[in-house]
Subunit: 313 residues, 2 copies
Amino acid sequence: MHAQAASPLSTAFPDRLGALAARTEALLERLLSQAPQPGEIARPARLLEAMRHGALGGGKRLRPFLAVEAARLLGQEGDGPLRAGAGVELLHCYSLVHDDLPAMDDDDLRRGRPTVHKAYDEATAILAGDALQTLAFEVMADPETDPDGAVRAELVLGLARAAGLGGMAGGQMLDLAAEGRYGRVDLDEAGIRTLQAMKTGAILAFAVEAGAIIGRADAAARAALLAYGRGLGAAFQIADDILDRESTTEALGKAAGKDAAAGKGTLVDRLGLEGAKREAARLLDATLAALDGFGPEAETLREAARFTVARSS
Amino acid sequence: MHAQAASPLSTAFPDRLGALAARTEALLERLLSQAPQPGEIARPARLLEAMRHGALGGGKRLRPFLAVEAARLLGQEGDGPLRAGAGVELLHCYSLVHDDLPAMDDDDLRRGRPTVHKAYDEATAILAGDALQTLAFEVMADPETDPDGAVRAELVLGLARAAGLGGMAGGQMLDLAAEGRYGRVDLDEAGIRTLQAMKTGAILAFAVEAGAIIGRADAAARAALLAYGRGLGAAFQIADDILDRESTTEALGKAAGKDAAAGKGTLVDRLGLEGAKREAARLLDATLAALDGFGPEAETLREAARFTVARSS
């Protein structure tokens, strides 16, 4: 992929991503601690443990990284952007817990560990996903995330739109339909792109937008960051399709080759493996071009895009 | 129940409740229409239909009524309180869709119609519940609900705290545990009250609080309305336990006698049927007393409390 060759991944980037993952983990650990929170009657231990299983101890935490780096680009540092990023991450974790359920993708393994319904049971996993979604919105709306209520409401609204019927949940519905379980479906390339933009792209793009909202981006910066986020989401998904085809279950920490086995169309099917790799490179170039109005201060976001396409798991 | 005898239900009350239910239904119909909303990529028809099945065409809409009447008591009319109430109702509808799932309470019937997983399938019902929860927060955070972002963020935060680990979802976890599925549990009276305060009380109380928030209640009015809401929630649940024991499946529109069959302890078990009825009357008196600082303008909320205890379904 020529974009990657032209600008090799800095060794500093994985360190920065890892450092932010550690900060995210520490914040999620606090949010999911035993300590009762304001207004709570009790914290049932089994549900809390299942939520911790679904949200702690894994993941690259790419979404919080994007939120924090987009806010930093706009001069906003501190815990607010991290909390907004953690809200997006909790929403993402809820979706993984529910997607893994027997009635959905029926996965036993996630990040190399048993999925929540395997470690606990189906009812507990449904409730844990439900409560992780609720917690995502609670974190966004909490005054600790931003002193300005209008900013908090905008974070909630953006997250909800990325997550609901017209975004992630709708994308998962299309994905289940693409397996043919509600009748024969043959998605063309445009249909696959729509599905992926909804299922995974919308939340990734919103992670960047959350940083723009909390960083008080002006209209031009917000439009540029949104274009970057959308491009990144599309590039992420095609990289995922390529990984699913080329990698092993051991390297992924989850079942490999499942999409093909489920009969789901992917862009690798439509474009071929080499065509998909060319398309990933093209999307990466377009994603980087969205940041042309920024200088070297946007280099971390550029590296995040390169990493997204070049990652091996 | 002497409180009821002392102040008989006005015939005007059912009409007012019905009129607000019609307004709520019309708003939910708009929120769940085919028309694409801002920022959405597509509205998958199957998921939208399942959400409509779970949210439209039934229910007393008691929660929106409480939000609207609490706001009206504080001089706040218009669509804002109705939208806040609809947000609470959508959260309630999501919980019903998920509680009915085979892994949870495994109910085939709700409001006299097939539950969502019977009318569609399990995966669709999980996603429909998920997306109804998301929509609840989207409605709360939308500028149409209130012009002040801080008010919208407070609505989101309150709803999330009532719905999550320390509220409704946690209460459902305790309820599943009370069936003995994770080991023998013998709830005493205090344990049953905690479970009920979480599972159903928190959201009912928040419906009243949402009206107080959007009505800009001062500290004294807010404390009084919160006490009213909590009392109402407790009275509602004991009335529900009494109904579950005394009514028929036909009258309820859902399976009757399920709690006893599941081996769950209820306050009727602990107090006996007559003791439970005395306790319901005591809770009703306490709930009405919370409104003593208000004059005749609070009469509708008083009638709502009497209705909650006296209702037959």
